[in-house]
């Protein structure tokens, strides 16, 4: 990439300098993350309402979730956030190969998360612990246990969707990194992907205790 002194190739024409472009991109990403939190906010709100209405049912139903699998997944996601952050650090030091490796590690950890999620889901589907009108499990005492599983599947499902999107984004910046598109001068897309990935991680860190742990 040509990095001319006054107009590097990555600088879009309507920005005065790289710094302005970088700051704009970051502000845009943070605002987008705010909207993501609000999107999940509706579900957190539904969770709070129904938990307040059916505290015992929630307690009984939450025991159906596998704390070990959820716990492993929590560790997996936090580790993936670390590898993501280290990848950005590597790019800041112009160490491109380790950056690609760390992005690949992030991708692999994300797929581990999804594989574990797959086992959890298929187990629940097998038992009939399904959302809403498809619920036919009989082991949870209390009225309307299907609501817990509706909320469980919606929250983790929406989160899982975000993991998938995140993997796509990380995969894309990984290929671009391997092709040498980024350096210590310009690595904004990787940083933005990282911010997004940290949010995905953070939302899970809220979901895990709310759904699996609180008794």
């Amino acid at each position: 990439m040509s990095v001319a002194a006054d107009h590097p190739a990555f600088l879009q024409h309507h920005f005065a300098d790289p710094r302005q472009q970088h700051e704009s991109a970051k502000l845009g990403m943070w605002l987008f993350l705010v909207t993501e939190i609000l999107l999940f906010g509706g579900l957190f709100c539904a969770y709070a309402v129904y938990r307040a209405w059916y505290p015992e049912m929630f307690y009984n139903a939450h025991k159906a979730l596998d704390v070990l699998m959820g716990g492993i997944n929590t560790v997996v996601l936090i580790t993936s956030s670390v590898t993501m952050a280290l990848a950005i650090r590597s790019l800041q030091r112009d160490r491109r190969r380790p950056a690609v490796g760390l992005l690949l590690a992030t991708l692999l950890l994300a797929s581990v998360f999804l594989v574990i999620k797959y086992f959890e889901y298929s187990h629940k589907i097998h038992l009939g612990q399904l959302p809403g009108k498809y619920y036919h499990f009989t082991g949870v005492p209390g009225t309307n246990p299907h609501i817990f599983f509706s909320i469980y599947f919606m929250m983790t499902g929406l989160h899982g969707l975000h993991v998938l999107v995140g993997m796509g984004v990380i995969g894309w910046v990984m290929v671009r990194t391997a092709r040498g598109a980024y350096s210590h001068v310009y690595y904004t897309p990787v940083e933005l992907a990282g911010l997004y990935w940290h949010l995905v991680d953070m939302i899970w860190i809220f979901l895990f205790p709310l759904l699996y742990l609180i008794g």
Binding site: S24, G28, L31, G42, V49, Y54, K133, Y134, T143, I147
Partner: protein, 544 residues
């Protein structure tokens, strides 16, 4: 005499359909949005005429009750989601925002184009829903009926969900643009009030819309998978839906009106040739309205069975919105006081706005009052109130803005004579249509009914005649605006003698907006200091 606009303008360079469909120029995207919202406005307007025609006399007139339910639902959904929410921010806002702050473009031009395509996709999905059988729930999609209705609720709500993304991306783009792309010297308090209004609107767009998004997803899941969240038979709560819905949709009212207020500030100052009175108060009142807008959603639910305490709190909070709204109105009046008012077409719309929005705002106080609302709830009083705010407020401001920036957008002047005629006809028709509905509502006529007792006949008939008068006004407007493309006079760069930045570049502007990055040395409304002969001389050529 030169009868062609400048050759080097964003309208001509680059040329070809593909250059428009792949453009990243905010001005072209604004024009694309303008085409989109005007199409939606025509569709929604035809549906409105059908509603009024059915109500011309008591008893079945044209439609079955089921068809009538679908027509008013589609009228509401099309007008709200396809027309009024994107109207000022996405169409006019996209065009003027970078010009007003001296930027070359919005912060994320590609995202801007994407949001237009998302708007188109959402529109197509919503229109598919209409042709696949239409929706009969009312535009609010209230549960539990909306989860049981056999009409195409899923497609319509999916369309609204997609349109929400478009709105979020536009808002996000605007906030970053205002923060990061202001020209040198453009301090926050030198920004035109239109920019403050768009900024406050953008804050609402990104904070409220995601909640509507997840609500509509929940509604779709409820219909597809019976998740039971909103279904009382399964332990769910339909009132929760209303809370979620109005947490978005009340702030959305301010997505509709705040940018309109921004336009009015520009118009009143320009056409009174005076410094805007209380600049900071108007600026901060936009932000205050945006924030208060999030605290008042419960006033839609006074009779829904929420707790009385909640209703009282929401009632009290609702009254607070009157303060910043009043600040704006009084500041505009003070701006006009002893000004040199020129009654151009845009100014006529601004004055219409002042009348109709004030009526709409004051009747909002009736509805925000808990005890009175119990009587007026779901009557034509509510219908009249929100049409005074949305049509009398937003649409009047939109039309004022379209006429004000028309010469800047297209480099052509419309017929000022016909412009004024149309503005007056629309104002008269509007009041004829909606004022009788206040009376109908206070007499007890419920909204959304396709039939009524004979006692209401004369008021309903008046309202229907009013809708035709208004239509005549719109048709005249369409005629002279279309004619202006080929026959309009060339206006020059600054036909109104305005001091804000967009008038310092050519009309229409070049692709990069300004030949050189402007240096801002004064505020947009310093008419008192700058009664320079140049601006007055130019003014003489524009407004005949």
């Amino acid at each position: 005499m030169d009868n062609q606009p400048p050759v080097h303008s964003y309208l001509r360079e680059p040329s070809g359909l593909k250059s428009w469909l792949l453009t990243r120029d905010h001005k072209r995207i604004g024009v694309l949005y303008l085409i989109g919202i005007m199409t939606a406005f025509v569709i929604g307007g035809v549906l409105a005429l059908m509603i009024r025609l059915e109500l011309l006399r008591p008893g079945p007139t044209l439609f079955t009750p089921d068809t009538y339910n679908k027509i008013f639902t589609l009228h509401g959904a099309v007008m709200i989601f396809l027309f009024i929410i994107p109207s000022i921010p996405a169409a006019l806002g996209n065009f003027v925002l970078p010009l007003l702050i001296g930027a070359k473009d919005v912060a994320f031009p590609r995202l801007n184009l994407a949001s237009w395509y998302i708007y188109v996709v959402g529109t197509v999905v919503a229109l598919y829903s209409i042709f696949a059988g239409a929706v009969d729930t009312g535009w609010t999609f209230y549960t539990p009926y909306s989860t049981q209705s056999t009409t195409t609720v899923t497609a319509m709500t999916l369309g609204a969900f997609i349109l929400g993304f478009s709105s979020i991306l536009t808002g996000l783009n605007f906030i970053v643009t205002v923060h990061k792309l202001r020209a040198p010297g453009m301090t926050w308090f030198r920004m035109p009030l239109m920019v403050w209004a768009l900024y406050a609107t953008a804050v609402i767009q990104i904070l409220a819309t995601p909640v509507l998004g997840i609500t509509l997803v929940l509604l779709i899941l409820e219909r597809l998978f019976g998740i039971g969240i909103f279904d009382p038979a399964m332990g769910g709560d339909p009132v929760l839906y209303q809370h979620f819905f109005w947490f978005y949709s009340h702030p959305a009212v301010y997505i509709m009106i705040l940018p309109g207020m921004g336009i009015i500030s520009e118009l009143i100052s320009t056409f009174s040739r005076k410094t805007i009175f209380g600049y900071r108060f108007i600026a901060f009142s936009s932000v205050a309205i945006a924030l208060l807008g999030f605290l008042v959603w419960g006033h839609h639910m006074f009779v829904s069975g929420q707790s009385e305490l909640a209703s009282m709190v929401f009632s009290a909070l609702t009254f607070l919105v009157a303060i910043p709204s009043g600040i704006k109105i009084f500041n505009w009046l003070a701006t006009m006081y002893k000004g040199q008012i020129s009654f151009t077409t845009p100014m006529l719309y601004a004055l219409s706005f002042l009348c109709t929005f004030t009526v709409g705002g004051l009747t909002g106080i009736f509805l925000g009052t808990l005890s009175v609302d119990v009587h007026l709830h779901d009557t034509y009083f509510v219908v009249a109130h929100f049409h005074y705010v949305m049509v009398g407020g937003t649409v009047m401001a939109l039309l004022g803005g379209v006429h004000y920036w028309w010469p800047k957008m297209f480099g052509r002047m419309y017929s000022e004579f016909w412009g004024r005629i149309a503005a007056i006809i629309i104002f008269v028709g509007f009041n004829l249509t909606f004022f009788p509905q206040f009376v109908l509502g206070s007499q007890g006529m419920p909204r959304r009914y396709f039939d009524y007792i004979p006692e209401y006949h004369s008021l309903h008939a008046t309202s229907t005649v009013g809708s035709w008068v208004m239509t005549i006004g719109f048709l005249i407007m369409a005629a002279y605006l279309i004619r202006s493309f080929s026959h309009g006079a060339i206006p020059g760069d600054n036909p109104w003698g305005s001091l804000s930045l967009e008038w310092t570049t050519t009309s229409p502007p070049p692709t990069e907006n300004f030949a050189v990055t402007p240096q801002i040395t004064h505020g947009p409304y310093d008419y008192d200091q700058m009664t320079a002969a140049s601006t007055l001389a130019r003014h003489g050529t524009g407004a005949r």
